[in-house]
């Protein structure tokens, strides 16, 4: 993979002219319309906007789970758009952690197995030990052998969180991680999300409806009808995110 000399100084995520158009019975639908976005290393960005504005689609494209119709996405100086499906998978393994609203745990695997899977896929040594440590860090060391169906919603999301951070990725993507949880549980999960991010020094893109939650990030980005409307709406309370931990990560290498 191409590693440019400016990689270290460049933003971790660089999006240019990103469009996503999907066919439908009523004709093509433009979901993303020419997005430009830079996210610096270690920055926490809150992505807000009404339902259907394209937030999740943007996250999917960033994660390489959806292919852009036009435009480019660079992750740590490396061009993501144009990579093969498997190259994208390898990239996700070690560099991207994702937390979904619906958790998306594998229902037939125990909590420990769910967390260990990405580590095993990446052939990381001591996958089980690392997974155990990750679960310990979300306070679930007593739930290792439980299946998702035997866990509460909050616990399931904590497992998902542990899974997302276990490989210490450079980029954490979170799509409404508290959407399926009650207020108190949601708050707990968010606390964990932010503290774990701080610990591993990951860059965070957090999709949320919650303005207060978005306000905890270094930066807020607003999205509407497939466009970033008031980008770079700087968060005044950036400090609550925990200081940007700085570039602990090296360049993105596949």
């Amino acid at each position: 993979m191409d590693l440019t000399p400016h990689a270290l100084s460049a933003p971790l995520v660089r999006v240019r002219g990103l469009s996503l158009t999907v066919p439908s019975a009523a004709g093509p639908v433009d979901i993303l319309r020419g997005i430009d976005l830079d996210i610096d290393k270690g920055q926490a960005v809150g992505l807000v906007g009404p339902s259907g504005s394209g937030k999740t689609s943007l996250l999917m494209v960033l994660a390489g789970l959806e292919r852009a119709s036009a435009g480019t996405v660079m992750l740590d100086g490396q061009m993501v758009t144009g990579l093969t499906e498997d190259a994208l998978a390898r990239l996700r393994r070690t560099h991207i952690g994702i937390v979904f609203q619906a958790f998306h745990l594998i229902p037939t695997m125990t909590a420990l197995e769910n967390v260990a899977v990405p580590l095993e896929l990446a052939s990381i040594r001591d996958a089980a030990a690392k997974a155990r440590a990750a679960l310990d860090s979300v306070g679930l060391s007593h739930r290792l052998t439980h299946l998702p169906g035997q866990l509460s919603g909050g616990e399931q999301q904590r497992v998902a969180l542990a899974r997302a951070v276990a490989a210490e990725p450079a980029l954490l993507l979170a799509d409404e991680p508290t959407g399926n949880l009650d207020h108190a549980t949601g708050a707990q999960v968010i606390e964990l999300l932010f503290s774990l991010r701080a610990r591993i020094g990951a860059t965070l893109l957090l999709i949320t409806h919650d303005r207060d939650l978005a306000a905890r990030c270094d930066r807020q980005v607003h999205m509407s009808d497939g466009r970033l409307t008031d980008a770079d709406l700087a968060s005044s309370e950036a400090g609550t995110c925990g200081a940007s931990p700085g570039a602990r990560h090296g360049p993105v290498v596949s």
């Binding site: 999740t56 689609s57 999917m60 994660a63 789970l65 959806e66 499906e85 498997d86 998978a89 390898r90 990239l91 996700r92 393994r93 070690t94 994702i98 979904f100 609203q101 619906a102 998306h104 745990l105 594998i106 229902p107 037939t108 695997m109 197995e113 899977v117 990405p118 095993e120 896929l121 990446a122 052939s123 299946l147 998702p148 169906g149 899974r163 799509d175 409404e176 959407g179």
Partner: protein, 861 residues
């Protein structure tokens, strides 16, 4: 109850996508059973409607090796019966050149060849009864002036028999390169080939198993010199009379203890009936296996359907529906679909024989009478209903236990849910009814019972195999590459379809393996691996005074020759322990020895290769009251033992033989084995012939046959190879029928497998998407699933190979009473076949799952 129907109807309106597998599986299984049953009924109806023509009269009195006695003929004449005499025996036909010498020309096919023939001598009254006007099994013309007889070129029987004419099977013409008008020798008489016998109305009643038919005039038979004392000949008289229906009883009263066999048209072809019964049983059981496989499909289908319906059920429960109501609604829906499948199967089974019957007409012994036979269709439908209920009840009962609160939890049907006691008992009762019906509907109930036990055991074996695979997979966690670990873990995860897939793939494969192994065993035994000890020839009808000459001829042959001869008498068993055989209760597998003339020998010393299991051999020089040594299997089947008396009829005379010992015979050697060996003495003074076996190199067989039959024209030589070839032909037809029905089982198994895999596909797609999100490459996911399916295929193949081996051993050993050979190649084919099937399924599944785009599944619901 009406609310249950209303709800069921409302839901059925919404489609039953998940239940298509239930319809298909039942249609296939029920169709197979119904088709076999219908075809059997059609053949039986054919036998019944042509019974008179097939028997050749209203009644047949078979007097065995005794010429039809004058007192019988006189009695029949008194009773206004029209009679026709028939005699049958095996003999040799030799080609002779125009100078009257047996042809020895080196060129062409006629060079002194001998042909074993089934000789039938008939009088001018034959055939007494003509065929009914509906054509025959071989598509020949409708019954004509010749009484169903076919001669090429067309002529009357009288014209054919004029000037010592005979009619021969076309096979002889082709094999020996003969032409009409050529002269041939049978025994010591010369005959003119008058024409080809193309149709013979009573052929199946007077079977021609070992050679082609030759028909000659009764008046010419004596000239052949074949009718020597003790010759293996069968005489019979057929009759037509207005009073025929009551004559059988009158005959039995008038001529008691004569050892004759009296048959009426219902019993025209007992051999054929027995053969059809046995084949039908085999095929029905194979059909039942495919229905059983279909049952697994029913269970899978219902289970998958209920999993998809679980939310609806939970909502119904929340709205106040009782468990009973939920159960009733689901049961109505499933049985509605099951009925559809069963009806389709019955329709298919009823129609298929009409199509298949036309195609198979050349292979069937009689022309089937196609029509509507409700009995086999009802039976097939009953099997279908019982299978559907037996297999649907368990998953349905679990559905009834879905609580309303399940709506708010992830897994809607908890894994450990067990049906309530009454339902479990009902399920047991259904299984018992299924076994009961299988056994009651079978001609050979013991065999059917074995089948049920084997089927149950196979189900248990595959279930246990499933458990074992899961256990080993759990223990093997952490082995291999990440992808392999994932695949192995897939085998034991909660809700893993391991047992289901094993069973779905394995049951059909087991049947196929068993069928293949049975076929393979038959093939090997008959064609390829003639026992090393097996003789080349059996020579029969050697007269006492010819034995020395025979020995000289054989020993004059160059090269190593082994010869063995024993005295031979024709005897029929007429009573066991004083009970006439018609009234004796004997096992089905020992009844054959009580039908017609059987070989009997006498010997002073114990024969080689026998093992006495009870009693003792008579002392040397014994000349007291006649004793007999009996085969152990028959003794058991007849319920007799040492000290009991077996009454036999030898050449019209009854003789009481006391059982001195019971011995086990190794029939495999293909040597001379008599199931009854009597003490010398009285029998040695009765007129009898000898049977000899000769073993010599294959290239000298023709020369020996020529030498013996030239010098001793009345002696018949039977090549063991030819006999085994004839048997192989029959068995090949049986094997073909088995293959077809076995194919149905495989089809059913594949359907079930498709259903089982399809049921889990949603879960698999979801899993693949999550794994991709977590960084799994397509190759890793493919490797994981192929590991899972590969292990399943391997285990399914191994179990199927074991079950197939056991089943084929059972059939070879207990049903066909022969030995079983381990056939590693067939087993390896089974295992690799299973592996290949599962890998194809795995590859298809994973490819479909990998094509699914991840984003739609990952979006918030």
């Amino acid at each position: 109850m009406s609310i249950a129907f209303t709800l069921a109807r409302r839901e059925l309106r919404g489609g039953v996508r998940g239940l298509w597998i239930v319809v298909l599986c039942l249609a296939l299984g029920v169709g197979a059973i119904a088709a076999v049953g219908s075809l059997r009924s059609a053949v039986e109806a054919g036998l019944a409607s042509d019974g008179r023509a097939l028997l050749g009269g209203d009644l047949e009195v078979d007097t065995g090796s005794e010429t039809v006695p004058a007192d019988l003929l006189a009695w029949l004449a008194e009773h206004d019966a029209r009679v026709s005499e028939v005699a049958q025996m095996r003999s040799m036909l030799a080609v002779i050149d125009p100078e009257g010498q047996v042809a020895g020309r080196p060129s062409g096919q006629r060079s002194g060849q001998r042909q074993l023939i089934e000789l039938k001598a008939v009088d001018s009254a034959w055939p007494l009864v003509s065929e009914t006007a509906r054509g025959d099994a071989h598509g020949g013309p409708i019954g004509d002036a010749t009484g169903g007889l076919g001669i090429d070129p067309p002529m009357t029987l009288q014209a054919a028999f004029a000037d010592h004419g005979i009619l021969i099977d076309r096979l002889i013409l082709d094999r020996l390169g003969l032409a009409i008008g050529d002269r041939v020798r049978i025994g010591s008489a010369t005959f003119r080939v008058a024409g080809v016998l193309t149709r013979e109305p009573d052929r199946i009643a007077t079977g021609a198993a070992f050679g082609p038919r030759v028909l000659m005039a009764m008046d010419d038979l004596a000239a052949t010199g074949l009718l020597m004392p003790g010759a293996m000949v069968r005489h019979a008289v057929r009759l037509t009379a207005p009073a025929a229906p009551t004559m059988a009883r009158q005959l039995a009263e008038r001529f008691p203890s004569r050892g004759w066999r009296i048959r009426d048209p219902r019993d025209a072809a007992p051999g054929v009936t027995r053969f059809i019964d046995q084949i039908a049983l085999f095929l029905t059981l194979v059909g039942l296996t495919s229905l059983l496989v279909g049952g697994i499909g029913v269970a899978n289908g219902v289970r998958a359907w209920l999993d998809a319906r679980a939310r609806t059920i939970a909502i119904l429960r929340c709205l106040g529906a009782s468990a009973g109501l939920v159960f009733a609604v689901c049961l109505i829906q499933v049985m509605a679909l099951a009925s559809l499948g069963i009806m389709a199967g019955v329709g298919l089974g009823g129609l298929l024989p009409v199509v298949a019957g036309r195609l198979l007409s050349g292979l069937l012994p009689v022309a089937p009478v196609f029509g509507f036979y409700p009995a086999p269709l009802v039976l097939a439908a009953a099997f279908g209903v019982l299978i559907a209920l037996s297999f649907a009840l368990w998953p349905l009962a679990r559905a009834a236990r879905i609580p309303g609160g399940a709506l708010f939890r992830d897994a809607l049907i908890p894994e450990g849910t067990r049906p309530s006691w009454p339902l479990a008992l009902a399920n047991l009762a259904l299984v018992a009814a299924l076994i009961g019906l299988t056994v009651l509907a079978a001609g050979d109930r013991r065999f059917a019972l074995y089948f049920c036990a084997a089927a149950l055991l196979t189900l248990i074996l595959f279930r246990a195999g499933g458990w074992l695979v899961m256990l080993v997979a759990r223990l093997a966690a952490g082995l291999g590459s990440p992808a392999m670990r994932l695949g192995i873990a897939n085998l034991h995860r909660p809700g893993a379809p391991t047992p289901l897939l094993l069973l779905s793939a394995g049951l059909g494969l087991s049947t196929l393996a068993a069928v293949a192994l049975i076929q393979g065993n038959m093939g090997v035994q008959i064609a390829d691996q003639l026992p090393a000890k097996a003789p080349s020839f059996f020579f029969i009808d050697i007269q006492n005074e010819q034995v020395a000459a025979f020995q000289r001829i054989v020993e004059a042959q160059p090269g190593p020759v082994e010869v063995r001869d024993v005295p031979s008498l024709r005897a029929r068993v007429v009573a066991l322990k004083g009970v006439p055989v018609e009234q004796a209760r004997v096992s089905p597998d020992s009844a054959w020895a009580l039908r017609g003339d059987r070989g009997l020998t006498y010997a002073a010393a114990e024969p080689e290769g026998a093992r006495i299991v009870s009693g003792a051999w008579w002392p040397a020089g014994y000349d007291g009251k006649p004793l007999v040594s009996l085969d152990a299997t028959l003794a058991k089947g007849w319920g007799v033992g040492v000290g009991d008396v077996v009454r036999v009829n030898v050449l019209g005379r009854d003789l009481d033989l006391t059982i001195a010992n019971v011995r086990e015979i190794d029939w495999r050697s293909l040597g001379i084995n008599f199931f009854m060996v009597a003490s010398p003495g009285i029998l040695s003074r009765a007129p009898h012939t000898h049977i000899a076996t000769v073993k010599l190199p294959e290239d000298q067989e023709a020369a020996l046959l020529r030498a013996v039959t030239d010098a001793l024209p009345n002696v018949t030589g039977i090549r063991v190879r030819d006999v085994l070839g004839a048997v192989a032909d029959i068995l090949n037809q049986v094997a073909m029928a088995l293959s077809v029905t076995g194919g149905v089982t495989l089809l059913a198994g594949s359907l079930v497998l498709v259903g089982a895999v399809a049921a889990g596909q949603r879960r698999r797609i979801r899993e693949a998407v999550i794994l991709k999100t977590l960084g799994a490459t397509r190759r890793q996911i493919r490797a994981a699933w192929l590991t899972e399916f590969g292990i399943l295929g391997l285990v399914a193949g191994l179990i199927a190979a074991a079950v197939g081996s056991a089943a084929s051993f059972g059939v070879m050993h207990y049903i066909l009473h022969t030995y079983w050979i381990f056939l590693p190649r067939t087993l390896i084919c089974t295992i690799t076949g299973a592996l290949a099937i599962m890998l194809v399924f795995g590859y298809t599944t994973v490819s479909a799952a990998l094509r699914a785009p991840p984003a739609p599944l990952l979006r918030n619901e």
